[in-house]
């Protein structure tokens, strides 16, 4: 069977806990905020806020599929936005808000190109110099944050043309936010890239067993380069959406999201050692985290309480999955020797 592909039973049992948590959270929020949480304006608001977290989480997940990580993901999003904004300012002689469509598209192309140069650098460090991804991307993150601060002198750049704001805040299809439409399109596209394309197949193989992948005539370096390019592409896309949503760019926007995306990957069942993790899991995890943060925000709770709660939630999920993990369908399948691979069991430490 292809990696990433499972029997229907396996797939259902894998996503069931997440679906259960999501439903429980929605019910809880609906009870705590009667008539407010499920109101249409709040749901639209949720759909508007979700894409930034979800796209960053998917970018993080892509980097984890080979056993890597991308700590530079938020820095890259900000960097793309800043390069785009500065190019727009430069092309219009300082009046970015009046930029025409050709100028806007050209600026975005420059921002994207800058981000891709960084992606190539990161891929080179990891694939050719074999620097551990956590360190390579940490260095790149500090470099990008630094460049962003130097380019903006620490200031916020604001005032963009309506087209840019429409990307983040507008809605073309009835009331559905454009950002949400972009997210859905990305998920569909990534489903084909990860689960139906040769690249996706190679990526999962590389993560499951790098040596076996190499001996199967897979050019692991090229796969790694493409993987980080994809991860940074998602970051750049997030950067464009953030430009529209905040109508400004700044060096350290959404910095805390780096760790939240790692948390989303953990919640979504992505194996940090690579080779295992489904798109459905990470999307559900992002929706859960956004539901919680929006709901708690509506409740008017101290935002730092939310920080503490995120920590508590991870610990609870760890404990619950440890207790129930022993009796889940998947464990039974594995125990009966019906599992698809033993590498999975081997990667866990001896009990």
């Amino acid at each position: 069977m292809k990696p990433g592909q499972k029997s229907f039973l396996g797939r259902l049992s894998a996503d069931a806990p997440l679906l259960f948590i999501l439903i429980a959270m929605v019910v809880l929020m609906a009870l705590l905020l009667p008539g407010r949480f499920l109101a249409s304006y709040n749901l639209i608001n949720l759909a508007n806020q979700l894409p930034v977290l979800a796209l960053l989480s998917i970018g993080m997940m892509v980097s984890m599929l080979s056993g890597g990580i991308n700590l530079a993901i938020v820095a890259a999003a900000n960097f793309t936005g800043i390069v785009t904004a500065l190019t727009m300012n430069w092309l219009t002689g300082g009046a970015a808000a009046t930029a025409g469509l050709p100028v806007i598209l050209m600026s975005m192309a420059v921002g994207l190109a800058a981000c891709m140069v960084i992606a190539l650098l990161t891929g080179f460090l990891i694939a050719w110099l074999e620097i551990p991804p956590i360190l390579a991307t940490l260095g790149v993150m500090m470099l990008l944050d630094g460049l962003s601060i130097v380019m903006t002198r620490g200031y916020t750049l604001s005032g963009f043309p309506p087209f840019v704001i429409e990307i983040g805040n507008g809605s073309l299809l009835w009331a559905i936010p454009n950002a949400f439409v972009i997210l859905v399109l990305v998920i569909v596209a990534l489903h084909f890239v990860l689960n139906r394309s040769p690249f996706g197949f190679k990526l999962y193989m590389l993560g499951a067993n790098p040596r076996a992948a190499e001996y199967s005539n897979i050019d692991t370096r090229i796969v790694l380069m493409k993987q980080y390019a994809l991860s940074f592409l998602l970051a750049a896309l997030t950067g464009f959406i953030m430009m529209g949503q905040f109508n400004s760019v700044k060096a350290n926007y959404a910095e805390s999201y780096v760790l939240v995306t790692v948390l989303a990957c953990f919640l979504g069942g992505i194996n940090p050692f690579g080779g295992d993790g489904r798109l459905s899991g990470i999307v559900l995890a992002a929706v859960i985290l956004q539901t919680i943060s929006s709901g708690v925000n509506l409740l008017g709770v101290d935002p730092f309480f939310v920080t503490a709660m995120w920590g508590a939630i991870i610990l609870i999920v760890i404990a619950v999955s440890h207790v129930t993990g022993r009796y889940s369908v998947q464990t039974m399948i594995r125990a009966l020797g019906l599992g698809r691979d033993r590498a999975d069991a081997g990667s866990k430490t001896k009990e």
Partner: protein
């Protein structure tokens, strides 16, 4: 291992080159006054680095919760000393060390019992500790720390008068850092416990087979990291003379990078106290150099990023070359490398 194959050696060369360059641009760099200042400002990160080193040698992903632990212990210790109206610095250290050890031990217990990778657990406890500190303290800044912190932070050894009339000397903070490093070196290199930590980092299953009590060792390592975070928290309060709930968090990735540049492996079983010290010193010297060269502090992150990337690249390049030159003889039954 040969000297020129060690990452410490490359780091030392890099530091020497940077020092030569800075001195050539601004001779004030190599004055005793400036060196004391660099050591003083590097102490807090240096103490953290010893703890980070222990976790990296133990294996698995790095701990990121130590700044949150330092933040909480610092705040609690300052509050406690304010409450009793003075006290002394030993009491502050005792409170911070005990509280820090308990908070760190919790990480160790969760990791051991639930078998989850360190970074996930410590991200969770980081958020939990830091969030609770903010909620319970309502973000109140304690601008006035009690007398003992002033005394501890202000004591100068070898004090003398500088050219501009200001008195300078070696602060107690680098002495504290040195003591922590000696303790760390002693545990790692001269005790059974240290051998067990290296053994677990090399291969946990083998460690279990030779009779290492993995739970006890892991519990010790994380309690030790927590205790050191407490020490660093008090040192930080003595340095800045205030307790601000978000003044320490944010250093975690820089400290981890410093320790890894110093040769500690992210795969466990490898690392030295000297390397961790050199890594911290490199960053402190870079920060100081930017000031002396009159370069805007905006460039600090760029410099650190370039330093990490260059340092790691040189290290990786050297390892790749060593591997290429190595003749590998496959022993029967051995897994191919």
């Amino acid at each position: 291992m040969k000297l020129f194959q060690r990452s410490e050696f490359y780091l030392l060369v890099l530091i020497a080159l940077i020092c030569i360059f800075i001195t050539s641009q601004n001779p004030n760099f190599l004055t005793l006054q400036n060196i004391y200042g660099v050591l003083r400002s590097a102490s807090v990160n240096g103490i953290f680095a010893v703890g980070v080193l222990f976790v990296l040698i133990l294996g698995g992903t790095p701990d990121v919760s130590f700044p949150a632990i330092a933040q909480v212990t610092q705040y609690v210790a300052v509050l406690a000393l304010i409450a009793i109206g003075g006290g002394n610095i030993a009491l502050a250290f005792a409170i911070a060390i005990v509280l820090g050890a308990v908070m760190g031990a919790l990480n160790g217990i969760i990791i051991q019992v639930f078998r989850v990778t360190t970074i996930v657990v410590t991200i969770a406890t980081f958020n939990l500790y830091f969030g609770m500190l903010y909620v319970l303290s309502r973000g109140d800044v304690l601008f006035e720390v009690p007398r003992p912190f002033h005394d501890f932070g202000g004591t100068l050894l070898f004090a003398r008068e500088g050219a501009n009339g200001a008195v300078y000397g070696l602060s107690l903070l680098p002495v504290l850092w040195l003591a922590v490093m000696i303790a760390g070196w002693f545990i790692l290199r001269r005790t059974m416990l240290g051998r067990s930590i290296f053994a677990m980092g090399g291969d946990e299953v083998s460690a279990v087979r030779i009779g290492v009590n993995t739970f006890a060792v892991r519990l010790f390592v994380f309690a030790f990291v927590g205790a050191l975070a407490g020490v660093a928290g008090i040192a930080h309060a003595s340095l800045v003379l205030s307790a601000i709930p978000n003044s320490i968090v944010g250093v975690e990735l820089e400290v981890i990078a410093a320790v890894v540049l110093g040769g500690a492996s992210l795969f466990g079983g490898k690392g030295t106290v000297t390397g961790a010290m050199l890594g911290v010193l490199l960053f402190a010297i870079l920060r100081n150099g930017l000031v002396l060269l009159n370069i805007s502090s905006y460039w600090y992150d760029v410099t650190i990023g370039v330093a990490i990337i260059l340092g790691m690249s040189a290290n990786a390049w050297q390892q790749l070359r060593a591997r290429r030159n190595q003749v590998h003889v496959a022993v029967e039954g051995e897994a191919p490398r």
